[in-house]
Amino acid sequence: MTVNHFVILSALLFGIGALGVLVRRNPLIMFMGIELMLNAVNLAFVAFSRFLQSLDGQVFVFLVLTVAAAEVAVGLAIIVALFRTRATVDVDEVSGLKG
């Protein structure tokens, strides 16, 4: 069990998350892709923290958690507000900036 195992897994998950954001048109699933990418980064943080024997990486994870929570709260609020004005959840339909 080396750091490479975890780092490669992290890269794979990040790639899959990015793929989800690019491929899907449903903003909720795109958002899930972003969560996947954040988690991949967290995994790398914890892996480096373990193999460098320093706890800074783990503390970062907690800060990332907070940021993710705030981001999800506001991001989903925007999606909900968008849905109320446009009655759609397809991002391609929402191309104009002025709502």
Binding site: F62, L65, T66, A69, A70, A73, L76, V80
Partner: protein, 118 residues
């Protein structure tokens, strides 16, 4: 893997096995006599109308959001509580600052009626 956590993994496996056996058993035993009205959604004997997958009130969403934002607090409170004997007054001030900032938000939500279920 830290050896302390191995038993938990074992227990999780046992519990999953138990649930799987119970659910399979449930499908195998007992009679099977389906008919359309038995399989339709139960609405106190009336014929069901409309779909059950309807849109729900925004209040549920708001509650879940507020839950997330306050749940983070718990994550920070636990290490603080465990260390409190060492941190003493310094710890108290640190956490007071943290909580006071959040209390501003709490009061704002309260005033805007975010906790009322109308």
């Amino acid at each position: 893997m830290p050896i302390d956590y191995l038993p938990i993994l074992v227990m999780v496996v046992v519990v999953i096995a138990f649930a799987a056996i119970a659910l399979t058993f449930s499908a195998l035993t007992g009679p099977r006599r389906p008919n359309p009205s038995k399989l339709s959604p139960y609405e106190s004997g009336m014929p069901p109308f409309g779909s059950a997958r309807r849109r729900i009130s925004i209040k549920y969403y708001l509650t879940a959001v507020l839950f997330i934002l306050f749940d983070i607090e718990i994550i920070f409170f636990y290490p603080w509580a465990v260390l409190f004997r060492q941190l003493q007054l310094f710890g108290l001030i640190e956490m007071a600052v943290f909580v006071i900032v959040l209390l501003v938000g709490y009061v704002y939500i309260w005033k805007k009626g975010g906790f009322d279920w109308d």
